[in-house]
């Protein structure tokens, strides 16, 4: 009698399902779901790691570099307090584009903005002021250390270029010297940062990651990503009207894109 009670109900249900209204509703729902999935997929593809970040200390020349790469002209700049981004055509032959993102270098803002954009980074250009480097070496190394031990950066291992800017000034240090000094400083920082008191919520400040290999002195070749050093000058040695000296940087961008 139970089965008998159910049968007419099942019949009614089957009849309903075959009805045109319900079927069309079902098809519509499936279409919406598929569109949604395709949209998410395309979004993900489009924004996945096509960004090149310009990082560095305050007054390193990131915004001017950004302006030069995109428009070729010299612009006056002020301290950035927010990020700027634009599409950059890497070379005239290839049609690949990358999104150049210029992040502020000020101490209170830099980590926040790095958090926001680090997941999308395909490559990182770390701009260093070669003239003030001697004075700022500890701050440069600290910021570079914070970038390198970040878990997302370690996971994605974006290519890293350290651009030694302001080479038009005679007192600028060479890229080789900057590399040596940074390696020495990062070597010391490994020890002091991991010895710092643990953070309030338990996570260590230096991160569980150890930079480079233990036991050996720190070397940029020990990092999981490719690191290169290049000299450049955003202002250009021929004054503001002339061209900027960005060959090395542009070649690297072509390689990376």
């Amino acid at each position: 009698s139970m089965a008998g009670g159910l049968e007419p109900h099942l019949e009614a249900l089957r009849r309903e399902l075959h009805g045109p209204a319900v079927l069309s509703v079902l098809i519509a729902l499936i279409a919406v779901a598929v569109t949604f999935l395709i949209w998410r997929f395309v979004q993900g593809r489009r924004s996945s790691r096509k960004a090149v970040l310009l990082l560095g200390l305050c007054d390193a020349g990131k915004t001017l570099l950004f302006a030069r790469l995109l428009s070729g002209r010299y612009r006056d700049t002020q301290t950035s307090i927010t990020d700027s981004s634009a599409m950059y055509r890497v070379s005239r032959d290839k049609s690949t584009n990358v999104t150049l993102i210029d992040l502020p270098g000020h101490e209170s803002l830099r980590l926040q903005f790095l958090e926001r954009f680090k997941a999308a980074a395909r490559a990182i250009v770390f701009v260093v002021d070669s003239v003030a480097f001697q004075k700022e070496v500890k701050d440069v190394a600290e910021f570079l250390y914070q970038v390198l031990v970040d878990s997302t950066v370690l996971r994605n291992a974006p290519a890293l270029l350290i651009a030694c800017n302001k080479q038009d000034v005679t007192m600028a240090k060479s890229a080789k010297l900057i590399q040596q000094q940074l390696e020495k400083e990062l070597n010391t920082l490994r020890v002091t940062r991991s010895a710092a008191p643990t953070s309030l919520d338990g996570s260590a400040t230096g991160g569980p990651a150890q930079l480079g290999k233990k036991g050996k002195d720190f070397d940029f070749s020990q990092l999981p990503m490719k690191v290169e050093f290049v000299e450049c000058s955003a202002r250009g040695s021929k004054g503001e009207e002339g061209e900027a000296d960005l060959e090395g940087l542009e070649k690297w961008l072509v390689k990376v894109a």
Partner: protein, 644 residues
Amino acid sequence: MLDFFTIFSKGGLVLWCFQGGSDRDEGMMGAAGTPILTAPLLQERGGNNSFTHEALTLKYKLDNQFELVFVVGFQKILTLTYVDKLIDDVHKEFRDKYRNEFQQKGALGLLNGTFDFKDDFMRLLRDAEESSKVRAPTVMKTFEQSLKSQKTVKCMIETRGEKPKEKVKNKKNKGSKKDGTEAVAAPSKASAGDKQLSAAGEKEELTKDEILQKNREEFFRRHMKAGEKSRSPKPDAQKEKGKKPRVWDLGNSNAKVLDYSNSATNGSAEACPVEEFDPDMALGDKNREPGRLYDLEYESDDEAEEEKVVQNPSKASVKKGGLGGMFGMLKGLVGSKSLTREDMDPVLEKMKDHLIAKNVAAEIAVQLCESVAKKLEGKVMGTFTTVTSTVKQALQEALVQILQPQRRVDVLRDVMDAQRHRRPYVVTFCGVNGVGKSTNLAKISFWLIENGFSVLIAACDTFRAGAVEQLRTHTRRLNALHPPESHGGRTMVQLYEKGYGKDAAGIAMEAISYARNQGFDVVLVDTAGRMQDNAPLMTALAKLIAVNAPDLVLFVGEALVGNEAVDQLVKFNKALADHSMAQTPRLIDGIVLTKFDTIDDKVGAAISMTYITSKPIVFVGTGQTYCDLRSLNAKAVVAALMKA
């Protein structure tokens, strides 16, 4: 005259610049290292839109929709009235003229566009200057025009006993002085009263004498009751008649009369009458169990009432909105709605109260909310974001920004540097009484010893009883934990003390030179706790710091402090700045936040302290054992702060 005017994007590109002054303003544009124009925005002091830098006053305006900043600079000594209007006009015109460039995607519009704004700007400037000059200077009235010439001389003469109306006016304006020589003062007062008369209005001129009479009577009446000072001629006259000795009520009687105690009554029961004793009234509650202590009854009715009261006005406003409100809400959810002040105000009020409830100092919460409002005004919201979420997001970013250190926080690195130069690294601890200076000093020395640095503790607290003994106990314990044998025969921690009552600055200087001779890596100087209002003690502290030039001046503050934090830090910094001889005075370099384990999630003191000084929190103390030393995690603190 305007010295300069500049328009730049928040991303850093200068779009247009005008320099009316001399070329010395080059410093503004090419500021090396320290950002001058954007400093207030970075420090979240954006509530007040004008700030000074050297000899210039700078005013700025934000356009949050297109991410632009407009800054105008003029000489501090001038007060130009047309500046605000000029900025607004320039903003509107610039935005309208270059709307196309701004609406292009990304920064390409800004990079490729040419912003030739000079002619428009000069025109606007000329208009603004002229509009401020429109009002002709007021011409002084001639004597014939004034009211004084119309008064008769008679009514201005004052005779004793008469209180003319002018005096009443003077009292009202608090200009009254005690008048011993009334006759001399009278004419001057009369003239002063006259000016007020003429200012008061026309109708009083008509029936002046009548009004004078009326007011005189009223004045009499009032002063009969009060017995005021201005009647001093009369009481003065009375007193001079003859001095009578004052009679006290009980003055002439002797002690016996005053002694009301009856020595015979103590102990005997008959002396005092038996009073009517009502046990019910004395005991009160009849139903209580004898001997039991009841709990405090908690009334939660007040809270429910408050909630009802709060809900009613909001319900009323919802009803008023009705259909329009529905559409507004829908429009707000989808599409581009730009934020206005009215939208943000209720949310900001709530956030401000929330911050204050979390122990952020009240004035800082207000300033923070103002700054966030300025940053968000006019901003276009994205789809599916509500006003609340936008404001909360902006406030969260602002809080993280405040807590990020503006200088490096790496004590070990600096100690290593000093080690290389063969000099000790000197750290001074200062703060008010009872915040935990000595305890945290011991914790920090433990941490330094663990990292292999030898420490000399200088006991410069020569005032508080037991301060030296406390440090000696810590030294003994630390040496027991890290005996010299495990560190190559070197004593890792030693105490330098000279007992009590001596000059703290002198002891510090001797301790530093002792450390240099003996090769200690770090010197930790413990000072006495002092209230920020105590001027001589603050001077002594400033002298200690100015004379010894420590590498790090740490202010120790407890996390329990509320609005006091602002006062403490401001006064400490001021004292250090005032008493320093140097060009750039040594101020507080960092903060140690103690007793962090006692606050639950009311972590607002961290925000208050870093906001006031712009210096980082170097250490956080979370207990009384040697391992209870932490470093600050900005994200965790902000999360605790924003938690509901």
